[in-house]
């Protein structure tokens, strides 16, 4: 399978990349790791006339703590996320999630920015970003703007990115020390997108849940932030009846497609099962 022809550009600064994208217009696309875009181009589902490779822009490969946030440059690979001790200490759910994305080879090239900007409901990072309350820095010729991950996804492959804009960094508020977390993903095999997956972050105090946030992957056209399900958990001891109610609330907002991963009803139920398991793990991990 051979992609259609295109012109290749390799800018070395964000400014020149966004200027190029704006100038080339609709026929141009940014290229990050290429592991979602190249498969689409090989099957000719995408045929951009210009690719603007972000790989030579230096400032986009970085992970740092800035105040109460961690800031991850868009071109940071999943492999670097997995191996970052800063992230393992401060936001360990990132590593847990990155490890269930695709396979080792794809994680060396696939970037966190590409995963979040792609807009494919099958991507694992977007629901996690919604769970963590992350915000994306979008850079255009006019400068930067911040968009919350919870507002960024408009539909399948439809995002808040304006023409000519690129996602340059992801800012994640550091969860409190002692928080519990879990990312649970049901997949048929290594390298498969989720049948359903759930990201959970909670805090506990004296046996009571004091805060909760939940994201769901691949059970709608967009990732889902399950605000109502999380609200039900807060103030409870995570007793069986409360967890049942939260799982029901999460299942209620899913609208999965029936596909080769199973019928819609099954995928909805699996979203519930993944949530239950992720929550169970988060609870064990939380310092009470």
């Amino acid at each position: 399978m051979i992609p259609g022809t295109f012109d290749y550009h390799r800018p070395t600064t964000v400014e020149s990349a966004v200027a190029l994208l704006l100038q080339l217009g609709e026929d141009a696309r940014p290229l990050a790791g290429g592991h979602s875009l190249i498969p689409l181009m090989k099957t000719r589902l995408a045929a951009p006339e210009h690719l603007v490779d972000l790989g030579a822009i230096e400032g986009l490969h970085r992970v740092e703590r800035i105040g109460d946030d961690v800031v991850i440059g868009a071109m940071t690979t999943q492999h670097s996320v997995i191996n970052s001790s800063l992230l393992a200490d401060l936001v360990p759910i990132l590593r847990e999630t990155a490890l269930v994305i695709a396979d080792p080879q794809i994680r060396y090239k696939g970037t966190i920015g590409g995963n979040c900007a792609n807009g494919d409901p099958g991507n694992d990072m977007p629901a996690l970003m919604q769970c963590l309350g992350a915000s994306y820095t979008l850079t255009g010729t006019g400068g930067n703007r911040q968009v919350s991950a919870r507002d960024f996804y408009l539909g399948a492959y439809e995002t808040a990115l304006a023409p000519g804009e690129i996602l340059t960094e992801i800012r994640i508020p550091i969860p409190p020390t002692g928080h519990g977390y879990g990312y649970e993903k049901l997949k048929r095999k290594v390298g498969d997108y989720a049948t359903a997956a759930a990201a959970v972050v909670i805090t506990m105090a004296a046996g009571t849940c004091t805060s909760a946030s939940i994201g769901l992957t691949n059970v709608s056209e967009t990732p889902l932030w399950a605000a109502e399900a999380a609200r039900i958990l807060v103030g409870s001891t995570l007793d069986v009846a409360t967890v049942d109610a939260a799982v029901a609330a999460a299942e209620a907002i899913t609208t999965p497609a029936s596909d080769m991963r199973g019928p819609a009803e099954y995928r909805t139920k699996m979203a519930g099962v993944m949530l239950r398991r992720a929550l169970g793990r988060a609870r064990v991990r939380a310092t009470v």
């Binding site: 295109f6 390799r10 290229l31 498969p39 181009m41 790989g55 396979d103 080879q105 794809i106 390298g191």
Partner: protein, 166 residues
Amino acid sequence: MTKSHIKVTINGKTVEALVEPRTLLIHFLREQQNLTGAHIGCDTGHCGACTVDMDEMSVKSCMTFAVQAHGASITTIEGVANADGTLSALQEGFRMMHGLQCGYCTPGMILRAHRLLQENPNPTEDEIRNGIAGNLCRCTGYVNIVKAIQYAAAKINGTPFQEAAE
């Protein structure tokens, strides 16, 4: 469409070439460089037969454009043997442990195992299996591939290895 000029180091040798931007790295290696060791299995990023080592990463070359390799250093199976032509520890391991049958997956398996052992010189069986999770083998059932990698790790580390091939 303009061709792009690229400069890459392949198995220690610097190569300059003009490529169409849409040329995939696997096609560049196989068709322009006559390095036919890396194979095309699935052409969709799943099987790992096309795996090469690029700037200390295991990369699926069917999912990478040759232009993205500009400035990179690449190792293919043709560059894996020792300088005197004898088999590398991994090649020897695959031979001694019967880690291959048809051999189609083998170049990708060896390049992936090479990077795995660079990053983790003494992996557990579980770490090996997770480490090669992006490489499919239709023949062996993986048991002897795992042993081949354990054999190589032991040889590199200078520790004993007694396991027999199954």
